[in-house]
């Protein structure tokens, strides 16, 4: 059986059981919960500090009504960053490389922000579709463009995450294969390729964290417009 470079992105099943369910439950299993006692240990304190700091950062520009989304955004961020980082381990499956999963996150959350905007403040929500100070002749064109950009948002959110992670994993696999194949042929080039692989892995760690942050940040911006 010939292995292709895209086999790592196939949703794994074992005897008909989809293992993606196991992969998705890992962020829940791996994080210890805070103790009901007065003080936690150092690890949990650090974990709590990170979550608090992140939530404070995201919700600073949002008004009070948007703060209801704090638990959702904090847990979404933690979920995405954990899935992305775990996927960088060898031979693991990254659920966030599946467009279906990312669309399942992006579409309902984006739609929720739009519906909240239309229900609570329809004038502001509709008014956002025309930038302030537009010349008269450009008004209809710009409204059409802004409407298209509104509907493209969930697609862009999902595809951004999918593409970044898929491309990163693919590059890692390609460069690792190149280093491995070149080792008996051109050892010096293989060593340089291995150095490149190391640097790429560092980049992918950064990308994993940044893409999770960008996803949640953009959702918070969409919420800011509508709440």
């Amino acid at each position: 059986m010939m292995l292709s470079f895209f086999d790592q992105f196939m949703s794994p099943t074992y005897l008909g059981i989809p293992l993606i369910a196991l992969a998705l439950s890992l962020p829940w299993i791996l994080y210890p919960k805070p103790t009901p006692r007065w003080l936690n240990n150092r690890l949990i304190t650090l974990q709590g500090w990170f979550i608090n700091r992140f939530t404070q950062q995201i919700f600073q520009p949002l008004n009070l009504k948007g703060h209801k989304w704090a638990a959702l955004f904090a847990s979404l961020m933690l979920f995405l960053i954990t899935l992305n980082m775990l996927g960088l381990l060898p031979y693991t499956f990254t659920p966030t490389t599946q467009l279906s999963l990312n669309m399942a996150f992006a579409v309902p959350l984006w739609l929720a922000t739009v519906i909240i905007g239309m229900r609570n403040q329809p004038t502001h929500a509709l008014g956002h579709l025309l930038p302030e100070g537009t010349p008269t002749l450009l008004i209809p064109i710009l409204i059409i463009i802004e409407t298209i950009s509104l509907f493209i948002r969930p697609l862009a959110l999902a595809v951004r995450l999918t593409a970044n992670l898929t491309a990163g994993h693919l590059l890692i696999q390609l460069i690792a294969t190149a280093a491995f194949v070149l080792l008996p042929l051109m050892t010096t080039v293989a060593i340089l390729t291995a150095v490149l692989l190391f640097l790429l892995t560092l980049l992918e760690i950064a990308v994993a964290m940044i893409q999770a942050y960008v996803f949640v940040l953009l959702l918070s911006l969409y919420l800011q417009e509508n709440v």
Binding site: P122, T123, H124, L126, G127, H128, L129, L130, P131, E132, G133, T134, P135, T136, I139, P140, I143, I144, Q224, E225
Partner: protein, 58 residues
Amino acid sequence: MAGHDAGTQHQFTGIAKYFNSYTITGRRNCVLATYASLAAIALFFKLKPKKKPAVTEK
């Protein structure tokens, strides 16, 4: 995002009072007017009777 314009420094008269790109209600009305126009155009083409070619006897 950018600060909302309360429209207090603009004194619009006539149609510009309702359709302008400075006040929030003006922007909303422009958006609704554009959507209504697009819907009207779509409806016009949907309800337009299709011309059938004349049937000639062979």
